[in-house]
Every structure is written in C-alpha cells, then in structure tokens.
C-alpha cells in the first residue's frame, strides 16, 4: 500500500541479488527524488534518506538477497515514524482555549467552524472568537457560518486583535463554555509586528492549544513557516488543510520534522464536517505517491 513510486524503486532493485554500494546509492537518490516531487523540503528529504541508508546498512542490506523488501520496509517505517501518531486535543482548563494561527488563506476561519462542530459532536460546548480584525468581511464570514451551524460566537467589533481577545475573555458569558476557539488574521511568519501581536494574544489567552493551520499544497517554504511560528509561539499542533486536492502533502513531513509537533487534524473539504483526525499510514502513502 506504499504507492507506485516506491513500487518502481523496488522493481529496480529486485531480482538483482545482492546490491552493490552504487545500487544502494541509486535507490536512495530515487527515494529522495520521490520525496522532493512530493514537496518535502530538500534538507528534510536529505536527512530522511541518510537515516534510511544508515538503517539499511545496520540491517546488513549488502548481504541481503531481498534488498528491495528491506528498503521498502525501512522507508515505510521511517515515514510513518516521522509523521507520528494522531494526538488528541489538550483541553485541560476551564475554559480551554484553542488559538488558530497561520499564513493568509490557509483555511483558519473555515477550520475554526469545523473545530466547533467537531467539539460539539464530542459533547463539548464551544464558543468562537472572530479575532481577525484585518481582512475585509472576516467577521461576517465567521459570523454567518457560526449562525448557520448554531455555534455561539463573540459578536463585539473591536479594531485591535489583542484588545478584542482581552475583551472576549473578560466576558462572564464565557463561564458557560468549556472551549474557546480563537480565529486570527492570516499573517506572514516574517511580519514582526503581526507576530508581536499574536504573542500578546497568547499571553492574554494562555491557550491549551496553538494550532498552525497550513495549506497542504505548500512547497519548500513549509520549513520556514513552521520554524518561525514555532519560534514565536511554541505551537502545540498542526492542521493540514485542502487535503481533498491532489497535492502530495510533503509539507506535512517538513513541518513535523522541524517543529516536532503533532499533526492533529486534516481538512478535507469546504463543508463544516470536512475535518478528520490524522491517519499516519494514509498520509505516508499519499506523500510517497
């Protein structure tokens, strides 16, 4: 179930008996290429392939008469190992806050609603805070989706995102909710001012979860994005959106590698129920195509 590309690599190796060093090198290059074509960051792909090669040597690949099987097995194990397990949301406070952050257009607002629906289905009582004061009609977007789904939301309009979050938190109405979902404005990972503001929001809100909402079609830049958000905030998890497309999703591997943080959810469509928990094997076979 580990896709066509790996099968081809295996085919190039099988029936050749024991492998030479150059044949092992060749197969490592093929694996690296497959990862790069899947948008895995160059350095992440190189590191991954070195680890595969080391493991292959440790398993005596040069003495093996079934080297293809061994290499495929190692790649699969390492890939699934790197992707990691789906970890549940940490909702340990009363109320617990989830802060959604990420680049412009990655799917935060839509995901905020999806998370609200998800939490309701788990018996939680969520409250949405439309903290994007920048994008034209961002409030209307969240408000209208929330109204349609019967999700309660903070309806006061302020012109400063930090002030808005402070104001929202001070509302006593919050006592009846157990989870607060903060939707924030898209921001560049290199925008000093916007990063400063989101840090202030973090300090005010003290969230149990800071989730980086990232577009699954992101390319090599994924490492920079993840690194900067991690440095600025210390994220607690990643949500990969638009996985209903045909992007291979290598960005997931890059982000996971540089932050060490778990991929908690996958967005699989525009509808409010289009959110699923990570399936490591599925993501692995998609990345390897």
């Amino acid at each position: 179930k580990l896709g066509e590309r790996l099968k081809n690599i295996a085919r190039n190796l099988s029936g050749k008996g024991r492998l030479s060093a150059s044949q092992v090198k060749e197969s490592m290059r093929d694996i690296r290429r497959a990862l790069l074509e899947a948008d895995v960051n160059l350095n992440v792909a190189q590191d991954f392939v070195s680890e595969v090669e080391n493991e292959a040597v440790a398993r005596k690949i040069y003495d093996s008469f079934t080297p293809a099987e061994t290499i495929i097995q190692i790649v699969g194990e390492k890939l699934i190992g790197l992707i990691g397990k789906a970890e549940p949301l940490v909702l340990d406070k009363q109320p617990s806050s989830i802060l959604l952050v990420g680049l412009q257009g990655s799917g935060k607002t839509t995901t905020a609603i999806k998370l609200g629906i998800f939490l309701k289905s788990k018996g939680k009582n969520p409250f949405l805070i439309p903290a994007d004061v920048k994008r034209p009609a961002a409030f209307e977007q969240l408000r209208d989706m929330a109204e349609r789904e019967n999700l309660p939301y903070f309806s006061e309009r302020l012109d400063n995102e930090v002030k808005l979050c402070k104001q929202a938190l001070s509302r006593s109405v919050l006592k009846r909710y157990d989870t607060l979902i903060f939707d924030t404005a898209g921001r560049l990972h290199i925008d000093i001012e916007m990063l400063k503001q989101i840090k202030q929001i973090k300090e005010t809100v003290n969230p149990s979860e800071i989730l980086l909402v990232a577009d699954s079609m992101t390319g090599q830049d994924a490492v920079n994005i993840a690194q900067e958000f991690e440095n600025a905030l210390g994220i607690t998890g990643i949500i990969l959106t638009k996985m209903d497309g045909d992007a291979r999703g290598g960005a997931a591997l890059s982000m996971r590698k540089v932050t060490g943080k778990p991929i908690k959810f996958i967005g699989i469509g525009e509808k409010v129920d289009a959110l699923e928990v990570l399936h490591p094997e599925r993501l692995a076979s998609r990345i390897l195509g």
Partner: protein
Amino acid sequence: RNLFGKRDPKALVDFENLLIESDFGVDTAVSLVGTLEKTTPENYLSSLKKELINILNVSVGGNDYTKPIVELYVGVNGVGKTTTIGKRGWTLHGEGKKVLLASGDTFRTGAVEQLSKWGERINSDVVQSGYGADPAAVCFDAVDAAVAREIDYVLIDTAGRLHTRNDLMEEMKKIKKVLKRKREDLPQETILVVDGTTGQNALQQAKQFNEAIGITGIALTKLDGTAKGGIVVSIVNDIGIPVKYIGIGEEKGDLIPFSAEDFVTAILE
C-alpha cells in the same frame, strides 16, 4: 562540452539545490543546471540568469482589446483571487480606467461582502446577486452593466475550486461559455491566481485550469513572504502561460507587473 573541460561539480549541485529549494521541482532544476554544462564555472550564474529570463519572457498577448475588457479570475481556494481583483481594480483606476467588479463567487460565506468591501475601498461599483445565484448569470449582468455605463474593465471574481472537483470545473467552463456567447471575444483575459507558497501542485493546477478554460496569464501572490515561486518557471516552460502580475501584500497597491529580471534576481541572489 565547454572549451576548457572546466566544470565545478560542487557549484552545479549548489545551483540545483538552490532551484529545488525555490520550488522549481526536480526535473526543471536538473534540466536547467544541465544547460550549464556548455559553459565554464565563472559563467554559471550569468548563464543561468539568462536562461531563466529567456524562459520567462514569453509574449503577454493582446493590448488591442475592445471595451469592456473582461478579466476572469480563477484558481484554487484561498490563493488571493478576491484580493488580487481589488488590487487590479485600484491599479486600473490609477490609469484613469473605469472599473466594474463582478461578484461571481456566489458560494463561499462572506465572499460577496468581501468583494463589496473591496469595491468601496477602490471606489468601484460591484455587480452582485447574492448567494446561491448562478455565477454565469452574474457575469452576464456585469457585462450588460459595463456596456451601459461605458466601463473599461470588468473584473470577475469566482469561487475557489480544486481542479480535482469535476463539477466545479464544469461550472467554470459554463461561466466562460456564457461570456463567449455574450460576445465572441469575452473574456479577453483569464487569469489563474497562484499562491506563491505553493509547491509542485501549482503545475497541476495550471495544466487542469488551462485544459478546462484556457488561461491567458498568471497572477502569483504572496511573494512578500519567503517563498520563491519557482514553480512558475515550469508553468511557463511546459504550458507557455505568461506570468502577468505579482502580489506583494494585502493592500490595494500591492500588485505589480511581472518582471522576469527582478524575479530571477530575487531567486539567484
């Protein structure tokens, strides 16, 4: 084979890695670096620069269009279509043009309000007919309004759609058909908006959208980040669609005409 047999393998690998890290994709990176085999190491940089500028400088098509000039904006979700239309409208205003915006995204929550706010921001009227309306009908009405008001440009916003959604690609084809039926030459421009942070999937997007309705130009957005947008080189090289605009921010002035020279310099230096 270059004249002196001089070759710097490390430099070649470095260039290949630089291109890969700029989202060129492996095949394109390898073939571009391959062209350096015919020159000497001290000329690698200038040769690569020249080759890239050559590829990117494809002709940008018509400028003898008949009013109203209709520009249809399409692309996958969240790439910056609506914002790019706002910026484009502002630019055209600055050139003394009369602009009309058309709210062809009748699906996504908040889309009509978002374009409407952009209309206010850039002092341009917006033709809309609310959620659930047929986007093709909105376009039809927009062209009629444009003719009546002697508008120079009609900028049509459409809903984000993944190229993997056949039904949405069919809806987009219908929008184009209706425009063409309104007047044979409409729309004069069909702009695919591509997010600058996108990796190899952008090539697939370009292929599918082009196959479906024909793309006349690319607007590459969010280049104010750290992504290099190198995938457009494959798009231009493989499909022949020119890059027309670059988005460098979220404000109305943040859309600039594409310059191959500037783009290549930003990647290589």
